[in-house]
């Protein structure tokens, strides 16, 4: 089965109403193009899991795609709150949003437990925090080795995980450099995996540097070639973070009318990411990364 397909096709085939979805990327490589396509295809009742919901989930919440959110930090980094998230939680608009809240460490451990097919993982974190009072997901286990108790978090088993990366081959063998975030753990925890990349490369490129492979093709369902697919977040070596966009988003998203206008113009009003990049105009080249190549290493024997 050929895995290489368009974003429209990948979302249509592998993201279903009611799914538990992870779209990861910690500041780096956030799969915005995939998020926009999910909005365009009007998926509903999704449970969205992510350490930092960021603008991508704020948009999905406003568009009415989300029933529940599992997260650890819901803000616009260095700028302010996520307004759609706050309206949903504080006023139930556009619909009430169920929330399940952990910390960054707890979220990664949940992904790792799922990826390792374990029911839970323990940590020395969490004594004293009120989070364990409001979230029954935290439970204690007694060490069989010493008289001590540890808090645990339960495995998370997403239906689909979507990640963006610098490059992959047609089989989905995916390579990432710069910030790794938690994508590997999220992908292995998931039933289905969609990989969107700046560049689809020949397998020989992947095979020239196997230590860079973060996600193996064997767990990947779909590969989408989607240049600029992470904007307004960034891709190390390709384009910088669009910090102005994040700053301006505060005003855009505070007002529901301008928020809707943004979605109408940049999501519903466009067929795909190519059109989005086109519409971005000169901003694309302004964000283009400088060239700073690493020293190559020798894999010979």
């Amino acid at each position: 089965m050929a895995k290489l397909m368009t974003m429209k096709e990948a979302i249509a085939r592998f993201v279903r109403d009611g799914d538990l979805v992870i779209m990861e990327g910690f500041t780096h490589l956030i799969p915005f193009a995939a998020g926009h396509e999910i909005i365009r295809q009007r998926r509903r009742d999704l449970t969205l899991a992510r350490l930092t919901p960021d603008l991508i989930y704020d948009q999905l919440i406003f568009a009415g795609c989300a029933r529940k959110m599992i997260f650890s930090w819901a803000g616009n980094p260095g700028v302010g709150p996520l307004h759609a998230f706050r309206r949903a939680v504080e006023q139930g608009k556009p619909r009430p949003l169920e929330i399940e809240e952990y910390t960054h460490f707890g979220m990664v451990l949940r992904f790792m437990a799922g990826a390792s097919n374990l029911p839970f993982l323990p940590t020395r974190n969490y004594p004293g925090t009120d989070l364990t009072e409001v979230n029954p997901g935290f439970k204690k286990v007694r060490s069989p080795y010493a008289d001590e108790e540890l808090w645990c978090v339960p495995a998370l088993h997403p239906d689909v995980t979507i990640v963006h990366a610098q490059r992959a081959d047609a089989e989905g063998n995916t390579q990432v450099w710069g910030l790794y975030g938690v994508q590997k753990e999220a992908a292995f925890a998931s039933r289905r995996v969609i990989v969107t990349v700046e560049e689809v490369v020949d397998a020989s490129v992947i095979r020239s540097d196997p230590n860079r492979t973060l996600i193996p093709g064997t767990i990947v369902s779909a590969v989408v070639c989607e240049p600029f697919g992470a904007h307004p977040s960034f891709v190390q070596g390709a384009y910088d973070r669009d910090n102005d966009f994040y700053v301006k988003w505060d005003a855009v998203s505070r007002d529901e009318t301008t928020f809707q206008k943004y979605l109408d113009e940049w999501v519903y009003g466009l067929p795909d990411r190519a059109a989005y990049k086109e519409k971005m105009g000169t901003r694309v080249s302004e964000l283009q990364a400088d060239r700073q190549l690493c020293d190559p290493v020798n894999y010979g024997f």
């Binding site: 910690f26 500041t27 780096h28 350490l51 930092t52 997260f71 650890s72 930090w73 819901a74 803000g75 980094p77 260095g78 709150p81 998230f85 706050r86 939680v89 504080e90 809240e101 952990y102 910390t103 960054h104 460490f105 990664v108 451990l109 790792m112 940590t123 020395r124 974190n125 969490y126 004594p127 004293g128 925090t129 009120d130 989070l131 409001v134 001590e148 450099w177 710069g178 910030l179 790794y180 975030g181 938690v182 590997k184 753990e185 960034f234 190390q236 910088d240 973070r241 910090n243 990364a289 700073q292």
Partner: protein, 257 residues
């Protein structure tokens, strides 16, 4: 003497908490500026770690977020976030962690989750992020926050990140090491009493009166006998902050923390 902003004073004061060779968990804003100031002055051997996984960073520009690409380029290592939490923080390798929040209480507990009731919040805040694990697992925590009855209540609405809980030995009893060491506000500096573990005012910023502080904190705060005035930033510190660290004043014209 040089004129300076309160934020610059806070940056200068925070930087003095950092020793050469410290492994520091860095946040954005005042903490980032304080660490970079120490790095340029008295602590060239400091190792900066960001929760995004960048280790030994040498940012060529002011990082706007903890995942800024400038933290990666030229860094000593980039590691998965699972390693940041398991192998660095939980392993006990982090000497100093910086935290802020919406509320800090008498015993150094921090709230960054909700104002009001968790189920029906007046204000829904971002949540813990990595703050709870930093508060629980770093060897020492330095807090920066504004000084007001709203931000420094006697008891926080929600304990996101544990300080000394209800004081005394409660934190140790729960098996937690470390704890908050210092609270730096826009009016003064507080430490924690070694017995009761409550915040004690140890220095007041130039131009601020004791009465002003008492009027802007949520309980009858204890004052150290040897209360001093917070030393203002030196001309050299100001120069580095304004010329090198935040030339566009992105953080230091916004509010502290």
């Amino acid at each position: 003497m040089t004129d300076y902003t309160t934020s610059e004073l806070m940056v200068s004061r925070a930087s003095k908490e950092l020793k050469n060779g410290d492994v520091v968990f860095v946040g954005i804003g005042v903490p980032s500026l304080a660490v970079n100031l120490a790095y340029r002055l008295h602590a060239p051997g400091i190792c900066m770690i960001y929760e995004s996984g960048a280790v030994g960073c040498v940012p060529k520009r002011l990082p706007i977020s903890i995942g800024d690409p400038c933290l990666v380029t030229g860094s000593l290592a980039v590691v998965p976030m699972l390693d940041v939490f398991n192998l660095y923080l939980q392993r006990g390798l982090i000497d100093v962690g910086f935290l802020g929040g919406a509320q800090v209480d008498r015993y150094g507990n921090i709230n960054s989750t909700v104002i009001g009731d968790y189920r029906k919040p007046k204000v829904r805040l971002p949540g813990s992020g990595g703050a709870c694990e930093i508060a629980a697992l770093a060897k020492k925590v330095v807090i920066t926050i504004g000084n007001s009855k709203r931000t420094l209540p006697e008891k926080v609405d929600f304990i996101t990140s544990p300080g000394y809980l209800r004081g005394g030995r409660e934190r140790e009893t729960l098996g937690l090491k470390g704890g908050p060491e210092l609270v730096i506000t826009d009016m003064g500096v507080y430490r924690f009493d070694s017995g009761t573990r409550e915040m004690v005012l140890v220095s007041i910023h130039p131009g601020v009166t004791l009465q002003t502080i008492k009027d802007n904190i949520g309980w009858d705060v204890r004052v150290a006998q040897d209360l001093t005035e917070t030393p203002p930033p030196t001309a050299e510190e100001i120069r580095i902050i304004r010329r090198e660290l935040d030339p566009q004043g992105i953080f230091l014209r916004s509010k502290a923390g």
